[in-house]
Symmetry: C2
Subunit: 734 residues, 2 copies
């Protein structure tokens, strides 16, 4: 009895918490639970229990399926500064009246809840009208967060115009309609006169009546002028001037607004169009026994620039730990002079805010950033949130880590990979909130302040989504130029989620897509919602961790194939140094490089025979010269009668720039086939002439007719042809 | 100067309104506008501007793509009482830990904001796991509104179990893991001891410790028992009993809830499975000069029941107006004895709450409702919100109508159709809110009180969506049996919207889908999201307004074809009387009946030669006997090498009931073809035996092999075959 009394007491003590009581009794299985407790109010709870009063004043129109949007407005859709965004929505109303709609949009500067004014852009009904789809176009001109909202209303004067026009054409009596039109004008004039028709001040400081008011007064006068004929009255009421004036006095009848302010994240151009080159600064040496330095990197800049790259990315440049340091080929038994993995961050020389002493100091780093800039190269750093056991944080902030019963910390794993030389922080440890979160933000801010505006983030999917959502927004609220690049090779929904929470671009599955069917399916999916709005793919052809199986046996032709696929497939592509030399020696049976650079210093002869430097330079030049190739969107797969050739077209929205790309997927043998020209894009008949230009060679010719033939060889396994109608200029623009 | 001073004054007077000022100046065109004014706060405004404090406590897991849902929870998804609903969501977390999830669901009785307790159902990860899709199953057992929410958390003990299991199997040291497991048990025990392990009262009123608490105490004792071997400790910690007890003490680490409580509308079975028969009571007479009455309808009930119908639907039964009454064939010059269109509602005899005197009175109506019920028939009425000019409301409530400058009211139109004999109410007139809305609700409630639980609603798309959302919820809050059937033949998004705001079922485009491609595309679309969740199609083969072109020249075989398509294509189908007699005489070149019954009394000989009463009865019987045919969902199109034969399979979720349907679309000639049997559904090889049963004739046989052949003739243009594996019973259930 004592015991049960104890339990009864503790039960009633807990009664108010609800959740824990009910949950614990049911565990994770099926059953009843008392309540969901004190969670935040759910978004739509009771939203469909409307009182009569509410519903009488509820929006009469419906605005559905607003795009671009991510998870119905929960996250920002991605946009590029200066690039027009097509905003669409399905807009509905009961009845048959004419509707009107517009997009209202504005920048939302950080820290300002209410931005100044709204821009507006009219929306129009997309044909065929039966889909009730409306579109409008907006062009953000500054970086950072924007928002838009859609407004729609019943267009009373437009409805009346339509009816009058039809009846007048049909010759039926319209006296009543004319009187109704007159009353609409009268009401509009009343709205203007009541303050909506403010006078305008001209250059001399004089005030003038707004033209709409003058116009509508004239309309009324003309209608009331007795000798006016019906035809004259019709002309007056249907004139474009009257319509414009009536729009100035719009009544916005049954004005309805989209449920949500849809956010847009406006990035700079480089978030969508960039060519990345990755190198280990320590390997920029001619002797594996001499550690390369920032100063050594200077000598590489002209060559990297000349190959057409614009982002130069370094793996971590911070001090490397000693404890459990990895030896060559990822062994656990390093030789004394093995440099260790740069991902084992932190030693007595410092942590994420320090530079590995053998690379140089902050002065040398700044000089390199400047020099890169002078070569039109932007430096991207690696943000890898992990610590060598020697990282200062372990001693300074033991509460930021999860210690095991024996006083150790679990080493990091990304199954099946094991990282014995690093440990992870615990974002939700008691001491870590907010100190760890702030410390990590401060690390990023430090490098931003040093002029680094792009961060490649290592394994972001093993750190909490809310952390990234906060960190990225926080950094970008001060500098919206900063871009984050997610290195997450994991399940598709998680990779998309990282794009949603703020990563500007992402690694992809491209490296593992080899067949025509795989590539077609993957490129298509990246072009469609929901990925289209939240996920920018950066096609890396290799990484220090990924030595693709295809390249291990393809020889030089395979490197050309993958370079062409990456450069032509997305506005964003990248390579890790050695690719241009067709390096492919693997650990046998593995997708990893033999003698991986992560664990040793690897000098290279960057002009070694067989290199593809020239081809890469030409591919990058072609990209810079053709807007159609500067995005991953806008791809159309076309017919070719060969399963080993991928053939597609890239076009800018108005087809001003159209590039056809045929890539053999066979590095070992020639492939040939008949392929179709998209003559219909140019409004041309199937037997028409089309001008073609080989962008690798500069050769120009005329094609006649829809079906053509090509042959691709291992020596030049792809064709890149800019096409134009005969009445366009050679650049494809009329 | 005086004038501009005036304008300046009025301008500053208006400065605080913002909207009107900014809007009016820009009109509906592009430009800047000052602000969006005082609209309700947008749902997500600022939602992605999170402070560090907020984000440190934000949900760590992500729950995305919750289904079933309509517009992300804005509207209720449709369900049927007693039918299991599959709830799915994509659930994500950073890292590699094991997750757990469940659906919490409950009825939401009207007027009760917080219902009592939540039911819970566990969710499991759907294979392949790479899609991160979880599923759970719930089965609402009562009518009306439900809601569900998804909860997910990190399964700490499960994560630990997985790791221990792998390491133990690999033979690596696990002492540390065992100690970690011990601590998890200790913490769980602590949670139970702190009130989550309330004692349970048994039948005799005695209190007992919960089994989980006893179990976990035993686990600790066994672990701490010194001679215990590692193997014994592993067995203890990994035992199913320990797991069950740990779930009872679940810590719900990083518990995350879906953004929204997703509503479900639970309807009775008849909302998804019903066969409708439509007749004009006034035509139930043997003499066009004698007006049929409710009493006359009694004689038809046995025949309608025997044909397998269960809903008997009447066009409006209210008094018919005299002003602008329509004559035969929709003329504007009626003869003195023309009865007029029943859609011209209202006369000196009353309005929507009255009965047309020539049909009978309320007593006769009640008797008919009772008699129908005794014949297993449910009566559905027409709810047509429009008024003859003689409707009492025009005089009593002139403020409910929009009057034109000449004192008239615009007559109704549904372009291109004109209804000169009726006028529409104005839902947003000043006097109409709320009086008109309430009056209309009261009309429906009156007929609900008379025992009518199904309303076919005439042209709902010309009345405001918020009105329907309120009216349907209001009526169903008192009687969730009541169903509304939307007669909207308009654009697809509007038809879907009506389903969203509460209509239980809808007319469709079925009548205009004739070719194999059209039917396949349409049936498929109805089976998919977003229509699947919000739109139940009722396939009417004809209506008093629609005399389908196909039937005008098809003869009897065409009627059999359309009956088979409708009955086999959806759980809901209907016909308007005359169809069973293959009536098809059109107004030449129009989709309308000659001598349309809407404008005259049309006696019929329901046993006239050439009728298809028997075939309709058999089709309806087949539907009642096969659950696979009682929904519009669950359709699979299969291969047949003839473009004039539509061939599909219908199956219940576990394939317990599988029906194959082959329908010739050619009423004029025999069609034949080879078709495939879906042997793979039964796990059978391509050369296996499958039992077939012709549900029209009862004939049974065995098919051998995947490809079979059939021939369909105009006399019997379809085949309906129930199939089963040889080890199942003939009813298709093992």
């Amino acid at each position: 009895m004592n015991k049960s009394a104890h339990y009864r007491a503790s039960r009633s003590e807990r009664a108010d918490t609800g959740v824990a009581v009910g949950r614990a009794r049911e565990g994770a299985g099926a059953g009843m639970t008392a309540s969901l407790g004190s969670a935040e109010a759910p978004r739509h709870a009771g939203r469909d229990r409307h009182s009569l009063t509410e519903m009488m004043h509820a929006p009469r129109l419906a605005i559905e399926a607003v795009m671009p949007s991510v998870d119905d407005g929960r996250f920002a859709a991605k946009a590029i500064v200066g690039e027009t965004v097509r905003v669409t929505a399905v807009i509905l109303c009961d009845g048959h009246d004419t509707l009107a709609a517009r997009v209202c949009w504005r920048p939302v500067p950080p820290g300002q809840e209410a931005a100044a004014g709204w821009h507006t852009a009219p929306m129009t009904l997309v044909q065929p009208a039966g889909n009730d789809l409306w579109e409008g176009f907006i062009t953000p001109q500054t970086l950072g967060r924007y928002e838009f909202v859609i407004e729609a209303w019943r267009d009373v004067f437009g409805t009346w115009r339509n009816e009058l026009t039809k009846k007048h054409a049909a010759g039926v009596p319209i006296a009543l309609e004319l009187e109704e039109g007159r009353r609409l004008v009268f009401d509009a004039l009343d709205r203007l006169g009541n303050g909506n028709g403010q006078p305008l001040q001209d250059g001399t400081g004089e005030w003038h009546e707004p033209p709409a008011l003058i116009q509508l007064r004239q309309v009324l006068a003309q209608l009331d002028h007795e000798p006016a004929t019906t035809a004259e009255r019709v002309d007056t009421l249907l004139s474009p001037e009257t319509q414009a004036a009536m729009q100035q006095a719009e009544a916005f009848e049954h004005l309805t607004r989209s449920d949500c302010h849809y956010p847009l994240d406006v990035d700079r151009e480089r978030a969508a169009f960039a060519s990345w080159y990755e190198l280990f600064p320590r390997s920029q040496t001619d002797d594996a026994r001499r550690h390369g330095t920032f100063a050594d990197v200077h000598a590489r800049l002209p060559m990297i620039r000349d190959m057409g790259f614009d982002v130069l990315y370094f793996p971590p440049i911070h001090p490397i730990g000693h404890t459990h340091r990895k030896g060559r080929n990822n062994t656990l038994t390093p030789a004394p002079d093995d440099p260790g993995s740069p991902y084992a961050i932190g030693s007595e020389a410092g942590g994420h805010d320090a530079i590995h002493p053998e690379l140089g100091g902050f002065e040398e780093f700044r000089a390199l950033v400047r020099a890169a800039h002078e070569h039109d190269l932007e430096i991207a750093l690696d943000f890898a949130i992990q610590c060598s056991p020697d990282h200062p944080w372990l001693a300074e902030h033991p509460g930021w880590f999860a210690w095991r019963p024996d006083g150790t910390i679990r080493y990091a794993e990304n199954p099946p990979k094991k990282y014995e030389d690093i440990v992870n922080v615990d974002f939700y440890a008691e001491d870590a909130r907010p100190a760890l979160w702030e410390a990590l933000r401060d690390v990023v801010q430090l490098w931003v302040d040093e002029g680094v505006k792009i961060f490649r983030v290592d394994n972001p999917h093993t750190k909490p989504f809310p952390f990234w959502e906060w960190l990225i927004a926080d950094i970008r609220s001060r500098d919206p130029q900063v871009l984050f690049f997610a290195e997450a090779f994991t399940r598709p929904a998680i990779m998309a989620r990282l794009g949603k929470v703020g990563f500007s671009m992402s690694y992809t599955y491209f490296t593992w897509r080899n067949t025509k069917a795989e590539l077609t399916e993957y490129f298509t999916r990246l072009n469609e919602s929901p990925l289209r709005e939240c996920y920018r793919p950066n096609f890396f052809v290799n990484t220090p961790d990924i030595n693709p199986v295809f390249l291990q046996s393809s020889g030089r032709p395979g490197f050309l194939i993958r370079a062409a696929l990456a450069t032509m497939g997305s506005g964003l592509w990248g390579m890790y140094s050695g690719f241009e030399l067709c390096e492919a020696a693997p650990i046998p049976g593995r997708e990893e490089y033999l003698d991986a650079e992560k664990y040793e210093i690897r000098p290279r002869d960057y002009f070694a025979p067989g290199n593809i430097n020239g081809e890469i330079a030409q591919l990058n030049w072609i990209r810079r010269d053709n807007p159609a190739l500067q995005r991953h969107t806008g791809i159309t797969f076309l017919e070719i009668d060969n399963e080993r050739i991928l053939y597609f077209a890239r076009g800018t929205p108005e087809q001003g720039n159209v590039v056809l790309v045929a890539i053999s997927l066979d590095p070992h043998a020639a492939q040939e086939g008949h392929f179709e020209l998209p003559l219909w894009w140019f409004g041309l008949a199937d037997d028409a002439e089309l001008h073609g230009e080989d962008l690798m060679t500069g050769h120009r010719w005329s094609w006649y007719g829809k079906w053509q033939w090509t042959r691709l060889t291992p020596e030049m396994p792809f064709g890149i042809w800019r096409v134009r109608a005969p009445d366009q200029g050679w650049r494809g623009v009329a």
